[in-house]
Structures are given as structure tokens and as C-alpha cells.
């Protein structure tokens, strides 16, 4: 079904704007990355061979090199890193939803004059630089940091807890940092929820807990999905938080890309990793959309 045959030209123009935006800021940079991923590393400026090479007499050859992708498949390190990132991204998304949903729900159900101040409390910390907030966590979590001193001062523990440089510190940093990305879209869907539906359900004898499961939760699914995407996708490629808070044994794609790009100076391999990460993110997303559409079609 072609959109253009159904829409007047003016609308086409409006739709063209986001398409143009996507092409300029997503497709074009991705094509650059793809190009580099198909080349070979070389000690030069820039440190990879051009795909298009002029041999002599104006003869132009295009050399495409798939060995980078082959290398990603041969060494189990890259798969382990993908799984490591997947695990951290999935668990962080779950934690964000578990903590963020009650927060968004409470704000949406609070008296109207309270909502703005409560939302401000969520947003306000983000007026401080991201890096400084992560550094603050180092001060809280480290061996003789705030948390350990507090717990030891209260006599709850004898020796400091080892939280810094462990996966727990990474989860804390990630969940803290991405929480607003879950709370805000959830709030937006929950605040639009038609409360008369709940009243009708109550009148028909539905208990509050069941009302939540049967009405509120399904109707807030768009917010849940949007929030989950906003956390999951960036955390898959996250580098700064695991680098500053995590230990050396936290294996993630972002860190591996850093090693390939900076330590090995292998831009082609780093680019193929980036391309692979994109595939790992896009395929589930496309499948999800596909099944959603089939479900919608089946429903009508």
C-alpha cells in the first residue's frame, strides 16, 4: 500500500521532512561506518584504506574486504561482549521499569498542583553535567565513600562493601541515569488515561488490583515500550558508565569498541562492531513492529 496515492502533496512534503532528517543524520553516517567496516586498517591519516582506489591510467577498482566481519565471528570475545551488553541492557531496563512505573503512576495520580513540582524533582538533577553525576556516584560507592562510611558508622557492617568496580556499580549508575527516560513517557500515557474506565470497572465489581492489571497496565503499554526502548538502546552501546564505575571484568560492546578504535587503532573492526550492534538492535525492533501489525490486523 503506497502512502503517496492516498495523501495530498502537502502532506507528502511534511512527511518528507522526518525522512530527510533520518537520511541525513542516520543513514548517511551509517553508510560511512559501513564503508569503513569494509576496508582495511593502515598506518596513515585516516587509518584505513579507501574502498575506491585508482591504480593507474585512470583505472578505478573497488576493494571490499569482509575479513573484519569474519574476525568478529571467529573470536568468541565479540559474541560474549554482545551477550554481556544484552544482559546489562535488559536487566537495567527491567529495573528502570520497576522503579519508574510506580513513580510515574504516583505523579499522575497526585493532586494537579503537585504534579509540576514532582516532575521537576525528576528533571532537576539533569541540569548537572552527566559526567559530574557519575563522579558523584564514585564518591558515594567507593571503599571509604559516603555509603560505606554511613553503614559502618551505623554499625551495620564491619568492613567496607566492595561495590565500586563491580557490575552492581554499573547497574546503579545506569538505572540512576536512565530512570527519567522511563518516568517521563510513562507519565505522559498515564496522565491521559480515561479514569471513567476505572470507575465503570469498579461499578461492575472489579477490585483495584485487577483494575490495574486489566485496564491501567494494558493502556499504558505504549509508554512502557517507549521507556524501555529509550533505556535499552543507548545502554547497549554505553561506554562511559561501565568505564568509570565498572571493573575490568565487565565485558561490554562499548568498551570493546573503545579498545578496537583507540588501543588497536583498528577503525575498520570497530566500525564492523558498530554495524553489528546496529543490526542487533534493529532486527528485534523490526520483528516487534511486524508482529504488532499482524496482531492489529488479526484483531480487526
Amino acid at each position: 500500500m503506497k502512502l503517496s496515492s492516498h495523501l495530498p502533496p502537502a502532506r507528502n512534503l511534511i512527511i518528507a521532512v522526518p525522512w530527510f532528517w533520518l537520511a541525513l543524520f542516520f543513514l548517511l553516517p551509517f553508510l560511512f561506518v559501513l564503508k569503513i567496516s569494509l576496508s582495511e586498517p593502515v598506518l596513515a591519516q585516516p587509518p584505513y584504506m579507501d574502498l575506491i582506489r585508482e591504480i593507474e591510467d585512470g583505472f578505478v577498482t573497488i576493494v571490499v574486504n569482509f575479513s573484519n566481519y569474519q574476525m568478529l565471528l571467529e573470536d568468541s570475545l565479540y559474541l560474549s561482549a554482545l551477550l554481556g551488553s544484552l544482559k546489562i541492557a535488559t536487566l537495567s531496563t527491567l529495573f528502570c521499569l520497576l522503579i519508574g512505573y510506580p513513580m510515574a503512576y504516583a505523579i499522575a495520580r497526585s493532586p494537579a498542583h503537585w504534579r509540576l513540582p514532582l516532575l521537576m524533582l525528576i528533571i532537576l538533577p539533569f541540569w548537572t553535567s552527566f559526567l559530574i553525576r557519575i563522579y558523584a556516584w564514585i564518591g558515594i560507592l567507593k571503599g571509604n565513600g559516603l555509603l560505606n562510611n554511613l553503614l559502618m558508622g551505623l554499625g551495620l557492617i564491619d568492613s567496607p562493601l566492595e561495590i565500586m568496580h563491580t557490575p552492581i556499580a554499573v547497574y546503579i549508575g545506569v538505572v540512576y541515569n536512565y530512570l527519567p527516560f522511563v518516568v517521563l513517557p510513562l507519565y505522559a500515557t498515564l496522565i491521559r488515561l480515561d479514569l471513567t474506565l476505572l470507575e465503570a470497572a469498579a461499578d461492575l465489581g472489579c477490585r483495584p488490583w485487577k483494575q490495574f492489571l486489566l485496564i491501567t497496565l494494558p493502556l499504558s503499554m505504549p509508554g512502557v515500550l517507549a521507556g524501555a526502548m529509550l533505556v535499552f538502546i543507548p545502554v547497549m552501546g554505553e561506554f562511559v558508565i561501565p568505564d568509570l564505575l565498572g571493573g575490568p571484568n565487565t565485558l561490554m560492546l562499548g568498551k570493546l569498541m573503545w579498545t578496537e578504535f583507540f588501543s588497536n587503532k583498528d577503525w575498520p573492526l570497530a566500525s564492523s562492531l558498530a554495524a553489528l550492534l546496529l543490526l542487533a538492535l534493529i532486527i528485534p525492533f523490526v520483528l516487534l513492529r511486524h508482529f504488532e501489525r499482524r496482531a492489529e490486523e488479526a484483531a480487526t
Partner: protein
Amino acid sequence: MKKIFNGFKYLLSTLVLTSSTAQAAEQLHIYNWSDYIAADTIKQFEQKTGIDVVYDVYDANEVMEAKLLAGRSGYDLIFPTARPFAERHIKAGLYLPLDKQQLQGLDNLDPAIMSSLAEIDADNAHLIPYMWGSSGIGYNVKKVREILGDDMPLDSWRLLFDPEIVARLASCGVTLMDDPTEVLVAANIYRGAETDDFSKASIKAASEVVTGVRSHIRYFHSSQYINDLANGDICVAHGYSGDVLQARDRAAEAGNGVEIAYVVPAQGALMWTDVMAIPADAPNPTAAHAFINYLLQPEVIAPITDYVAYANANLAATEQVAADIRENAGIYPPAATRAKLKITPTPSERQIRDLNRSWTRVKTGH
């Protein structure tokens, strides 16, 4: 060499320096390690020459290198570590040959360092040495003596690589740098192998040494140990000379009773040299020459050494360096110690990949 990735300091210095850059005719863009120059060096230079300095900092050679390799970095002067970084940049033709007519006082530079640099930079055409130092062992004197007793010699890599000893120190905290070349070469020195052997077998044997103590190592990090040594959170750290001495000074300032010492192990240790170089595409090479010339003056470089606690390569400046720095064996080692220092060897590109791959395996088990 590798200074702390100190976010606050970085932000502050960037803010202060960019705000102080008013509209001036001539600009000089410098890219240096963080916390690697005296507080008033830049200001004095600006006042003297009228050149406006834009000063940016990095915390890892790799970050600087990536900008250089990408091209048009916009920097006029950079401070890479000679081996392997400046070495491969020269091979790739990324530096401008120096115009020595514009530089005075080159004769004052340490001939030993200059001849070592000439091995990677024929006729010293591109590089001027800035600071140099070694990587050895920093330790908490009281606690380590308490655990190991008075008879155990502490100038030994056994403190970091002998599983039996590291196990005893583990509860007190032992750390290694997060740097494959530094740690694996140190492990090779420990097991009596050649420092410049980067064959697969040698890398494997060195990795096994580190894997043998892996479970007793609190963390791998190239700057975190500064704070932790000073606070008494760890007992033994593999670290850079100046950084360990910085930890010692911080502990002394805090008056917390922690006494830190730096030692070059008797089996030998690596030394490195950071150099100044002008990128081939530098917008203002003349100003870069003027700045190098300025740093070549003994009275300018001596206070920088006082501040950063690393030795400079200018022999005429040594007597102007503060006595406690000049007489510190960790900064200006006596001839006998200096003879034990080995120049950081350069692995080939293929070997770098092997080193990094083994390093990931050592740290993560994958």
C-alpha cells in the same frame, strides 16, 4: 604520564582557559596531558609573546592519537609518549620536521635521551623531549612491612607477580595498571624474559604470570591508585613514578599516617619519555616553535618539574629544580638505578592486537 581522568579538573581547566582566550591576532592550540604543566607557564608565555594559547588536555595517548589520525585536529603542538606513539606517527608522516633555527638551547638536552630518541626519529628531526619517568612499584611502607616482615626485600616484582606474596597482601589491596604493554612487559621482567620479545609464546607466558595472581588483584587501573594509596585503601600498586610520588605527597598533606614509597625493582623496570611534536597540518607551526623554544629555557622547565614531579630532559635545568625533587631517587634516579631502566619497547601492529587480546583474556577470562 597517564594522569587521572579527573573530570572536574578537566572541565575547570577547559572553562578557565577558553574563557581567558580573548580575541587576539595569533593563536596557538596546545594539546597536552592533564595536569602536566605548571600553573603559570601558559600565562607567562602569553604575556611574553602576545600569542593567545588555547590549551586542551587528554588523559590517554590513544585519545590524542585518534584525533591526530582523523586529520585536521587543529592542534599546533602535542605531547605524545615517544614509544610507541610518536614513533609510529613519524612513520606515518604525521609530524612536521622542526626548524631548528627557531630553537635555542638544544645542547642542554640530555644526550642519553636524545640518542635514544634518534633511534625512532633520525637526526632528532621531529621530537623534543619534555618529561621522562619510570613505572615501578608504589607501596604503603608500614602495612607491607607488617605483613611481609622486615627481611623481605621490597624492591622486587615479586610484590606484584609472586602468587604466594600477592595472596598475603591481597586483603590489604594490590593493583595493576590497565595497560597491556606496561603490565605484560613487567611480568616478563619478573620471569627473567626479554623486554622486547612480543612473540605469541612470550605474551602467553607473561599473561599466565598475571593470571596466576589475577584473583588477588583488587583492580586494574592506571590512575585510581593515586588516591587509594594516599588514603591507605590499597597497599601495593604498579604505577608511574610521578603518580606514586603524588600519592606520597597527598598522604603527607592529609597527615593520615600513611607513608608511601616508590621503588624501581632490582630486576629492572620500564622508562618512558614524553615528547613535543608539531602535527604536519598544524595551523600555526611558528607559534608552536616559539612555545617549544620557551620550554627549552631552564628557568621555565624547572618549575614545571617542581609541579608535575617528573624529571625533565634539560640538564641545565636540574640545578634549578627544587632540592626535594632533584634529590628524590624516584624522580631523578642515581646512575645505578637509571642503569636498570629499560626503554619501553615497541610492538608491531600485529603484536599490539595480540597484546590487547591477551589482556582482555587476562582481565575478563574471555
